[in-house]
């Protein structure tokens, strides 16, 4: 006993001694022009060959041996900076890196971020926001989600929509984090546009596998989106005018460098421009007034205040809504004979109203504190809400005493509301360990659908009736810890544990989820990585498979509908070619349990208390491999991605069988998926970009045989739609003006006018034939012919937009 204690003491002393001569260099890495903190920037000591990467708030901490050190700070798109000195004490170095969008390829320093060859993270991709902005899109609207759909492992679902299907997962299995806060609805206009205004975004990272322990709550992906803090040097901004919408972005210091703001707003104006036409048609139809329209808007705002060198305060706000409205007012006159024989004239007004309003609201209050040069704390209080409100009303008012006046309004409300408190820590005790730990608590309030009837019958007291479900409260708690550590010069691993619990209606679910991600460095440019993740999810989205409807409803797990979970293993090779191009090949296998699917014939329009009866629980699996070659620096940037994948489902639980309890392919099971994205800067005045995508078609369910009494469907998803392919092109013309820069963007969506399938269905064609009979009479004959029809949404669509930046 004494011996072992002595041994432990010696080991402890030697451990402490081994680090006794070490000092910590810490600080923040920012962009010199804007003052924006740089996420994932590298600080690397060329002497000890030790390095660290800045966290989400630009903070880094590097503990290295005392003596001569030569630190190299680098970030993609920035000039590297070297600082050499004699390290004799703990030192704070705040670094400002010079931005240079197009670097000479020679001076670029290797990507040492966690996502590349050197890091332990796999299954994750980060795309520079400038590259996302350069990708040509539908109607010229920059779209983050649609850009990410071009990455391997991500399927877009239906053409033109912002569907997001990652590695065989469903659309509700993705965690969209805006400044660390979940956003529930990420699309506008039924899914044609995403809610993220690219002007407000600083950094985007998509995790498809190998999830670090700090993330959870969804099975298939995490999309971590960070908003710009705001330029702390000068007021900057841009104004963009496009076919669909216009937007404005303004950022800069507020009073001093310590406080910055960033505000971005976007609104469509189809409704405003179409009002005169609608008014005209209203008059033609005899309405006194007719107003109708649709618009969506986004408002992003962020305030950042530096309280001290150690404390920073952030206030983020996002609000986005889709609004559909219709108001018809009809006025008419009526006459009747009075008791004294006189003619009375009366006026009546009939009014109909429809109002649909759905969207997100998100508020984040965050406090960063550098507790010590090794410990960073992040405290966050958040409020997020998704709501869908429908109002349909009808009123009648007349001064004729014999007429009954009334006013009826039916309101349907549903949504989800979260209040959360998060506490996260980054701890870097030495260069070999980067520890993250924390806890999150979320109070969910689900509103599965409440109808309110407001009836005003004449002058009587109004009668309000509430029909439907009460709010459902749920408590979700997360505790996590992860350590990203080196084992010698060649091995690096990220080990983590994520514990989550969910309490809803007396039902308590919890799970302990191990996460492992490891890297073996074969040489400085080539590494092998492997990862395992176990994930649990406690909420489901009741949704149409095809399109994103505002009626899509988030519901919690229940006693019958248990949490979904998944196991994912992945492995891959990562190669860095001369610090210019990153290659990766990843293979994965993912099994998913307790997935939900609508039962045969279940209607999406009937989302009410018995939704549990409409769904079946089952399992699924997905496997495949992904290839990605990505170039993010130089005059030519972009990527080539290829995915081979297979995704299947099995719903064979007694009473919940789908497809006779046999295996069937998932709707978005696509065998091949290729995407090529290229941007090239010809000069300061002109740059061009193009994307080409090709993928196997989605599955459809067709009744291929008809018989007396019905249509025979041999299998769910039994017919493969035609392949999908599309070429988009875009060109930007820049010109330096007196007070800023103007950019004309011309885009062509679907440049070779490929008619891609949106929907296929059986239909009929009528064949007209001109015949002449034996008597010389000529006439037409009509024959109906059954055919398979394809509906395509988007032909070639050119668009133009104008941006003025100052």
């Amino acid at each position: 006993m004494k011996r072992s204690s002595l041994l432990i003491l010696i080991l402890l002393i030697s451990w402490v001694y081994s680090y006794a001569q070490n000092y910590t260099i810490s600080g923040t890495i920012t962009d010199s022009q804007s003052g924006e903190s740089l996420i994932g920037a590298s600080s690397f000591d060329l002497t000890s060959k030790k390095g660290a990467v800045s966290n989400t708030y630009g903070f880094y901490s590097l503990t290295i041996p005392a003596g001569d050190v030569c630190l190299q700070y680098s970030y993609v798109g920035c000039m590297p900076q070297e600082i050499c000195f004699d390290l004799r004490k703990d030192t704070i170095i705040n670094v400002r890196l010079e931005k240079n969008a197009v670097l000479d390829e020679i001076v670029v320093v290797g990507n040492r971020s966690e996502l590349g060859v050197q890091g332990s993270q796999m299954g994750a991709i980060s795309i520079p926001i400038e590259q996302i902005k350069a990708i040509p899109t539908l109607f010229g609207e920059n779209d983050l989600i649609k850009a990410l759909q071009l990455l391997p492992g991500v399927q877009s679902g239906t053409e033109g929509f912002t569907g997001f299907y990652v590695r065989g997962g469903g659309p509700d299995e993705n965690l969209f984090l805006l400044d660390g806060v979940p956003l529930y609805n990420v699309s506008h206009l039924g899914g044609f546009f995403s809610t993220f205004n690219t002007d407000a975004i600083k950094n985007v990272t998509l995790y498809k596998g190998g999830f670090p322990a700090r993330f959870g709550s969804r099975l298939s992906s995490v999309l971590d989106i960070r908003m710009n803090d705001g330029n702390n040097k000068k007021i900057k901004g841009s104004i963009g005018i496009g076919i669909i919408s216009s937007k404005i972005n303004l950022e800069g210091p507020l009073f001093s460098e310590k406080t910055t703001f960033n505000v971005s707003a976007r609104r469509t104006y189809f409704d405003i421009l179409s009002q005169p036409v609608i008014k005209y048609f209203g008059k033609q139809e005899g309405f006194e007034s007719l107003r109708a329209g649709y618009y969506f808007y986004d408002l992003n705002a962020k305030l950042t205040h530096k309280l001290s060198d150690r404390d920073k305060l952030y206030l983020s706000f996002y609000m986005g809504d889709d609004v559909v409205y219709l108001k018809m007012r009809e006025k008419y006159e009526s006459y009747n004979q009075g008791e004294n024989g006189q003619t009375n004239r009366y006026e009546s007004v009939d009014e109909a109203r429809i109002n649909l309003n759905w969207g997100n609201l998100l508020t984040v209050l965050r406090w960063n504190r550098i507790l010590s040069n090794k410990l960073f704390m992040n405290t966050t209080a958040t409020y997020t809400r998704y709501r869908f409100d429908t109002g349909i009303g009808n009123g009648f008012e007349s001064d004729d005493p014999e007429e009954d006046n009334y006013n009826i309004d039916m309101i349907y409300k549903s949504g989800i509301e979260d209040i959360a408190l998060n506490l996260d820590f980054d701890y870097s005790p030495n260069p070999n360990h980067d520890i993250k730990f924390g806890m999150h608590y979320t109070n969910h309030r689900f509103r599965p659908g409440v109808s309110v009837a407001k009836v005003m019958d004449g002058p009587e007291i109004p009668l309000d009736t509430v029909i439907g479900n009460k709010n459902i409260l749920a408590h979700e708690t997360i505790i996590y810890a992860e350590d990203n550590f080196n084992i010698g010069p060649f091995f690096k691993a990220n080990l983590g544990l994520h514990y989550s619990s969910f309490l809803v209606q007396g039902q308590f679910y919890h799970s302990l989820q191990p996460r492992v991600s490891a890297r073996a460095l074969i040489n400085k440019d080539l590494s092998f990585k492997a990862a395992y993740s176990y994930m649990s999810q406690y909420i489901h989205l009741l949704s149409n498979n095809n399109i994103s409807l505002p009626t899509d409803l988030w519901v919690p797990v229940t006693k019958r509908i248990v949490p979904m979970n998944s196991h994912q293993v992945s492995a891959g090779l990562f190669y860095n070619l001369k610090d210019l191009v990153n290659f990766s090949v990843e293979a994965y296998y993912k099994s998913m349990d307790n997935l939900i699917e609508y039962k045969d014939g279940a209607s999406f329009l009937s989302v009410n208390s018995n939704w549990e009866d409409k769904v079946s629980l089952g399992r699924g699996w997905a496997y495949g491999f992904e290839f990605l070659a990505q170039k993010t620096i130089g005059k030519t940037t972009g990527w080539i991605g290829y995915t081979w994948s297979k995704t299947e489902r099995l719903f064979d639980r007694p009473g919940q069988e789908l497809n006779y309890g046999k295996v069937f392919p998932a709707k978005y099971d696509r065998r091949h998926d290729i995407s090529i994205v290229i941007s090239h800067k010809f000069s300061e005045k002109i740059d061009m970009s193009g994307t080409w995508v090709y993928s196997s078609g989605n599955w459809s369910t067709l009744g291929l045989q008809e018989y007396l009494g019905g249509t025979y469907i041999s299998q769910r998803n039994n017919y493969r739609n035609p392949d999908y392919q599309r070429l988009d092109l875009g060109v930007n013309f820049h010109k330096q003006k007196k007070r800023g820069k103007r950019t004309w963007n011309i885009s062509i969506y679907n440049a070779y006018n490929r008619m891609n399938p949106f929907l296929i269905h059986p239909g009929t064609d009528t064949v007209e034939t001109y015949v002449t009979d034996q008597y010389g009479n000529s006439y037409y004959t009509y024959e109906t012919k059954k055919v398979l029809k394809q509906i395509s949404l988007f032909p070639i669509i050119p668009s133009v937009s104008y941006i003025y930046s100052f």
Binding site: S603, G703, Q790
Partner: protein, 334 residues
């Protein structure tokens, strides 16, 4: 520009209108017609079968073809029990074998040019109705006329609340169908049976069976349900029904007795799955199919399509007292 919005709207509309529908060449494999066999077997009754042929969904022929030249055999424990005899040009066949409760029967059918089919079913046993409690809300009138050529007739609203006490066997999944009907007996000996379409229930066992949004209030005069919520128990199943009746609708003769009958059928699992999937398909079609999942109508015919299922029935008769005859003027109903 004088009217920028007009140009703008035209551009948007043009792009949407050009997005189009086109004919697509079918590139699948499942184009061959299949044999369709339908047969519902009841213990104690001869077995009839209907055979037809499916058609590829792009086949322009509007008619379905009945199979009148098939070789159909009934099997029991790998031995042929008997063959079916062709009885009509509508693809009907009959067998003289009388099946018994609990028997497992296999059917095979083949026809030139089509793949042979086969299916198996176990015959159901009759369910148990312990008793039926009723509350009669009917308002019936029995009119008598002095003129000879007018028969005395019954007219009015038949309305009943019923509690049907079912005894369910423990440990096995049972599937049922319940439906009331009316038996009307006339003075000249004629007997007519009337379906009752207007039946309703708030019973959780029955309300659980309807997944429809569009027509949740409608039914087809019966309810299919399972014993999921009352396995192995005695269950008081509640339902109510209404029927507007006029004895002269069926037969121009004086009525002498009225009976309400509750028929409870025990369905084989195949029958139940077939029924609920068929109903779901019908509802999905009514709703346009756009907002609902496609429905696979259940089939247990290997190599073909259709259903080979069994049922057994139990009935419970309730005599309905006829009102006193009256020669007062009949009320006017709307």
């Amino acid at each position: 520009m004088k009217h920028p919005y007009t140009i703008y709207i035209l551009c948007i509309l043009a792009s949407l209108l050009f997005s189009c529908e086109k004919d697509l060449e079918f590139n699948g494999k499942e184009t061959k017609s299949l044999l369709v066999l339908n047969s519902f077997v009841c213990a104690g009754e001869p077995i009839s079968v209907n055979l037809s042929k499916s058609r590829f969904f792009l086949d322009n022929n509007e008619d379905f073809e009945y199979i009148n030249d098939a070789d159909i055999k009934l099997w029991k424990e790998d031995e042929i029990v008997s063959s079916f005899t062709f009885i009509s040009n509508d693809g009907d066949y009959l067998n003289n074998y009388i099946p018994k409760e609990g028997e497992t029967l296999r059917i095979t059918a083949s026809s030139p040019g089509l793949d042979p089919v086969e299916a198996t079913v176990q015959l159901s046993s009759p369910p148990t109705i312990l008793k039926v409690d009723t509350i009669n809300h009917s308002k019936l009138y029995y009119w008598t006329f002095e003129e000879e050529y007018y028969p005395d007739y019954v007219e009015g609203d038949l309305s009943f609340d019923m509690t049907v006490h079912i005894k369910d066997p423990r440990g096995v999944a049972n599937y049922y169908r319940i439906f009331p009907y009316l038996i009307v007996t006339y003075k000249d000996g004629n007997v007519f049976t009337s379906e009752i379409l207007d039946i309703d229930s708030n019973d959780p066992v029955l309300s659980n069976t309807n997944n429809s949004f569009f027509d949740s209030e409608e039914n087809e005069g019966y309810f299919n349900f399972s014993d999921e919520l009352f396995d192995g128990k005695e269950y008081p199943l509640k339902l109510s029904w209404r029927l507007w009746m006029s004895s002269t609708i069926y037969h121009y003769e004086e009525i002498i007795s009225l009976e309400a009958v509750v028929e409870l059928q025990e369905l084989s699992k195949e029958y139940y799955l077939y029924e609920i999937s068929r109903e779901a398909a019908s509802r999905a079609e009514e709703g346009g199919g756009l907002f609902s999942e496609p429905v696979q109508i259940f089939s247990n015919i290997n190599g073909g399509i259709g259903i080979f299922a069994s049922y057994a029935k139990t009935t419970y008769n309730i005599s309905i007292e006829l009102p006193e005859k009256s020669d007062a003027n009949p009320p006017i109903y709307y």
